[in-house]
């Protein structure tokens, strides 16, 4: 993988009316690396994730994906990317196979066989309606869809939230397989600090709308002599957004 950054965030701010949720955040994610974006609830992680995908325009600053402004060239850049949202975003009344068919027409790099195989493995029936799937199945379904276009960039928003152990394991094995096979660049947000500790190369901690910490995981751990969880707790101490 190239060492050139696949994602570059330049002074991005996100403001909702009076709320400044993200304040001049900048970071880079190198190709083939795994970047974990951490923060307390409501810290602005989801807003930042939306900016990374061209779903939202940062109030100021810009986000570059594969070297281009993702807000301006969203459609083109999304062909090489995939998104695993926190909750399945597909319309509930539709069937699994309808959603798969929709994705097939969206992507030139669609790997139908791999998707079918994954769904089989996860026990997701093609004729089931999305709303009829269990929570775990829905999460695996979303992951299977996301991996279906062989993305170069994978963005995950709290992917293992609410998954049981078995589902989590399934998730991890496929996920790690992607990393091993293709060196996919990954950006993820999570609350599962222990789970992400081994996966992430770099970590960024959003605190008070700023990126309070941004660095190599192992380096940080060595410098501070703390686990990731301890580092996180210390950096976000006494925060929690005013609600």
């Amino acid at each position: 993988m190239t060492s050139q950054s696949v994602v570059r965030v330049e002074n991005a701010s996100v403001r909702y009316n009076k709320d400044l949720v993200v304040d001049s955040v900048s970071f880079e994610v190198a190709g083939g690396s795994v970047f974990a974006l951490l923060g307390r609830n409501g810290a602005g992680k989801s807003s930042l994730i939306r900016c990374l995908l061209g779903l939202q325009r940062p109030t100021t600053g810009r986000v570059l994906v594969f070297g281009e402004d993702v807000w301006k060239h969203r459609a083109r850049l999304m062909a090489r990317s995939a998104y695993v949202p926190e909750a399945c975003d597909a319309p509930g009344q539709l069937r699994v196979r309808d959603i798969v068919a929709f994705h097939r027409s969206m992507y030139a790099t669609w790997n139908e066989g791999a998707v079918r195989e994954r769904l089989n493995r996860f026990g997701v029936s093609e004729s089931a309606a999305v709303s009829a799937l269990s929570k775990g199945q829905r999460a695996l379904f979303t992951l299977a869809l996301a991996l279906g276009n062989r993305p170069e960039l994978l963005v995950l928003d709290d992917p293992t939230l609410g998954l049981d152990v078995v589902a989590r394991n399934d998730f991890f094995s496929d996920f790690i397989g992607e990393l091993a096979d293709r060196g996919t660049t990954v950006i993820l947000t999570t609350h599962d600090l222990a789970g992400v500790e081994g996966i992430a190369d770099r970590v960024g901690i959003l605190q008070g709308a700023h990126l309070a910490l941004d660095g190599d995981v192992e380096q940080l751990k060595m410098e501070r002599g703390q686990s990731l969880e301890q580092i996180f707790t210390e950096v976000t101490k006494g925060s929690g957004r005013k609600s």
Binding site: G32, I176, G177, L179, A194, G198, E218, K221, M222
Partner: protein
Amino acid sequence: MTPPRTEPWTSRIPVQPADPRPIWSQIEEGLRRLLASSALVPGDAVPSVRDLATDLRINPATVSKAYQRLVGAGLLEVRRGDGTYVSAAPPLVRKSEQARVIRQAAMNFASHAITHGAELATAQGALELAWNELSNNEEGAGR
């Protein structure tokens, strides 16, 4: 021949993500220990990057880095299309190289012991204990 998978790799290479030491370093050390205690013998296959990463639930790049170091140190070798194996023979290391490595390890050990307020005797005792343990394993595995 493959080592009998009686236990998953997670227990043979105890990797603690919460441990401040870099994970690749923990893997490297774990594999070295297995090699030293003859739990892994030359010719044994080590798990693929993907399998080990999946088992340990860590980034394959991290596993890859550890393997690369061990390959660089001559302890592992990659056979194209086949997998990664323990090297057939221990590396021929120049005496000077060997001396340098040993001295560095000793320096590490000594500084650890001194900063933790141990006496030389205590340190020497610990060294003997570890040497014995590893040798015992070797004997055990040979059976």
